[in-house]
């Protein structure tokens, strides 16, 4: 199977005003299907940039980055958008659409990828049941707790059967008790449903929940360790 992510000497330089900032200075990373990798690093280490690149939200300045076997630097905006439909993004701040109910939020990602109404309705309900929110289907984000919102976001990310879930500080904005519930859900998805997961975080304890941890510092991956169960 094609690796879901394959980065070779990836560089990314931003212009901060007139000053070039080297956010990534040659990153190598390979993530296989079924893996659960955490990318760990302090702020300023380049992990957010890495997240944007793996999420096909941005393109590298140099190097090769294959997402699901596709070199993203060769894609135009439309093709990048298409690629993003195969990636399940979960954000630190949930990023649900406030005016839509839990179900409509989950349905939204499916309606973006042209799924029919009846089918996406059914799947949204199934997914919300999977993440344990069957009784919160018609609630809007404001009526849900942080943990519940994050579970809606995970359901939304799973809706299009993505090649992998991309988590950005998934527990960064929820209390520790609900955080452990969310982590349990993520691990369950990885183990039982064989969902590949890439998680970006600055939290060492959280990073250790993954099968592997890639430690970033100053725009490079300085170490990769396999975590003990």
């Amino acid at each position: 199977m094609v690796p879901i992510v394959e980065a070779v000497n990836v560089k990314k330089t931003y212009m901060l005003g007139k000053v070039p900032v080297e956010a990534l200075r040659g990153v190598d990373l390979k993530v296989e299907t079924g893996d659960f990798v955490s990318i760990l690093g302090p702020s300023g280490s380049g992990k957010s940039t890495m997240l944007n690149l793996i999420g096909a939200l941005d393109k590298p300045t140099a190097g090769t980055l294959l997402i699901d076997g596709v070199d993203i630097s060769k894609l135009n905006d439309n093709q990048l958008a298409d690629l993003r439909r195969r990636i399940g993004f979960v954000f630190q701040f949930f990023n649900l659409i406030p005016r839509l109910t839990a179900r409509d939020n989950v349905e939204l990602s499916m309606s973006i990828s042209d799924t029919g109404r009846a089918q996406r309705r059914k799947r949204a309900e199934e997914l919300l049941e999977t993440v344990g929110l069957k009784d919160r289907i018609n609630h809007k984000p404001a009526e849900l707790s942080g943990g519940q919102q994050q579970r809606v976001a995970i359901a939304r990310a799973l809706a299009n059967n993505p090649r992998f879930l991309l988590l950005d500080e998934p527990t960064g904005n929820i209390d520790s008790k609900t955080a452990s519930e969310v982590i349990r859900l993520i691990k369950k998805l990885n183990v039982e449903n064989n969902v590949s997961i890439i998680m970006v975080t600055h939290d060492q304890h959280l990073a250790r929940e993954a099968k592997r941890t890639a430690q970033m510092f100053d725009g490079q991956i300085i170490s990769e360790v396999v975590n003990q169960e």
């Binding site: 944007n52 999420g55 939200l57 941005d58 905006d77 439309n78 958008a81 298409d82 690629l83 993003r84 439909r85 993004f89 954000f91 990023n95 659409i97 005016r99 839509l100 939204l108 990602s109 309606s111 973006i112 990828s113 042209d114 939304r156 299009n160």
Partner: protein
């Protein structure tokens, strides 16, 4: 993303900010309502004037007047257009060029073309009648009662009394507003009564008021509106021979020519024959020319009024643009989310344009209904005579063209002004949009 889903999403965004959406829509409503109201009133006015003209001016009739007028030129096809003189139809004016029409020219006109059925002269003066101690301004027409009644068989009809076909010089026929000015049943006089007919003779100084007493043989039935050359509600009709002696002239103000056919070729040929015969010193007006001039005038008026109303819609458009830009800024993060979920730029564009289409459509529909109500109310106020003049009846016309045009214009303006904000929304970079607080 499917079109229905795009519109559903756009609608959910509008619903979220109801007051803001309502105010934006209100702008469109006002613009469209103004356009629809103005257009349906002017179109109704045009229809009612055209209708009344057609009643007063049969299509197989030409009116020959001395002098050159815009209409005459248009009819005779000699070019030039509006010479700034307008329609020379009334009063005791003689032509500027010194050319005059005479009563006995009818014989010569009759001989000009086999298409001419006959012709008769009209002498016309402003004057007034004295009856029951009241002076009432009227137009005095000297006509051949027999020919006039034949030509205007629908309007030169007695409501009371009888129109004498071979009248004595002292007989007269009057329009209904002459003896019943308020149209409220208070009669100044009735058929059979004597009235004084007065004409201020200003051909020599000092001005002399010439008066004679006439017997009213008949009062005409209500004609309404106005007819060029035809009978009018404020007209006083006296025999042509009496007019010649009373006004001291055998010059006439118009000669009405009846044609055997009303087709355009006949009208054009006879008009040209008459114009040529009098060396271009007369205007020949046909009903078709009057109607086409009228239609030109009304088109201009409509364009002008519609243009003014359109400005208010333009203001609404700027409002839409303003609100869309605010909305775009507020929803920057949302757009980032949508793009991160795989939405394409053109779908973002379509969502924003979809919102403007919904706003424009709702605004246009409400505007059309409101405009129609406004026009109906205005017409009713005019008809009730609240602004004097005894009331003028207009039935506002709402043609399918106006409805469709208003819809298209409302939606079009909304979409055009939404283009820029929509384009900006679609161009947002997902990374930056997601970072936006």
């Amino acid at each position: 993303m499917k079109t229905i889903d795009i519109f559903g999403y756009a609608f959910s965004a509008i619903k979220l900010r109801k007051l803001r959406a309502a105010l934006t829509i209100l702008g469109v409503v006002i613009g469209i309502a103004a356009i629809v109201a103005l257009l349906s009133i002017t179109q109704g006015l045009q229809a009612s004037i055209t209708n009344q003209l057609q009643q007063g001016l049969s299509t197989n009739t030409l009116i020959v007047t001395p002098g050159v007028s815009a209409l005459g030129q248009a009819t005779s096809g000699s070019g030039g257009g509006a010479g700034g003189r307008g329609i020379n139809l009334g009063g005791s004016s003689t032509s500027n060029s010194g050319f005059n029409l005479y009563v006995n020219y009818t014989d010569q006109i009759n001989a000009l073309s086999p298409d001419i059925e006959g012709s008769f002269a009209v002498i016309q003066r402003s004057g007034y009648v004295e009856a029951g101690g009241v002076n009432r301004s009227v137009t005095i027409y000297g006509v051949d009662f027999n020919q006039y009644a034949k030509q205007y068989s629908k309007t030169f009809v007695a409501a009371s009394g009888t129109i004498p076909l071979n009248p004595a010089d002292s007989e007269t026929v009057v329009g209904t507003r002459v003896n019943n000015p308020g149209q409220n049943g208070t009669l100044l006089f009735s058929a059979g009564d004597n009235i004084g007919i007065v004409w201020s003779n200003a051909t020599t100084l000092p001005v002399v008021n010439e008066t004679y007493t006439a017997q009213v043989s008949a009062v005409l039935q209500k004609i309404g509106g106005f007819g060029i050359g035809g009978p009018s509600d404020t007209g006083v009709y006296i025999p042509l021979s009496k007019a010649e002696s009373f006004f001291g002239t055998d010059q006439c103000d118009m000669i009405i020519v009846q044609l055997k056919s009303s087709d355009n070729a006949t009208i054009t040929n006879v008009s040209k024959a008459i114009t040529d015969y009098f060396g271009g010193q007369v205007s020949v007006i046909s009903s078709t020319a009057v109607l086409s001039l009228l239609s030109t005038v009304f088109s201009t008026v409509q364009l002008f009024l519609g243009g003014i109303a359109a400005i208010s819609l333009l203001v609404a458009g700027i409002g839409i643009m303003n609100i869309m830009i605010v909305s775009l800024i507020e929803r920057t993060r949302e757009i980032g989310i949508l793009k991160a979920l795989g939405m394409k730029s053109r779908t973002v564009l379509t969502i924003f344009l979809g919102e403007s289409v919904i706003i424009g459509l709702i605004g246009a529909v409400i505007g059309i209904v409101l405009g129609w109500i406004l026009a109906s109310v205005t017409a009713r106020v005019l008809a009730s005579g609240a602004f004097g003049g005894g009331g003028f009846r207009i039935t506002p016309l709402l043609t399918p063209e106006v409805v469709l045009g208003a819809l298209a214009f409302g939606v079009g303006v909304s979409v055009i002004f939404a283009l820029y904000p929509a384009w900006r929304a679609s161009k947002l970079k997902p990374v930056e949009a997601l970072r936006y607080e």
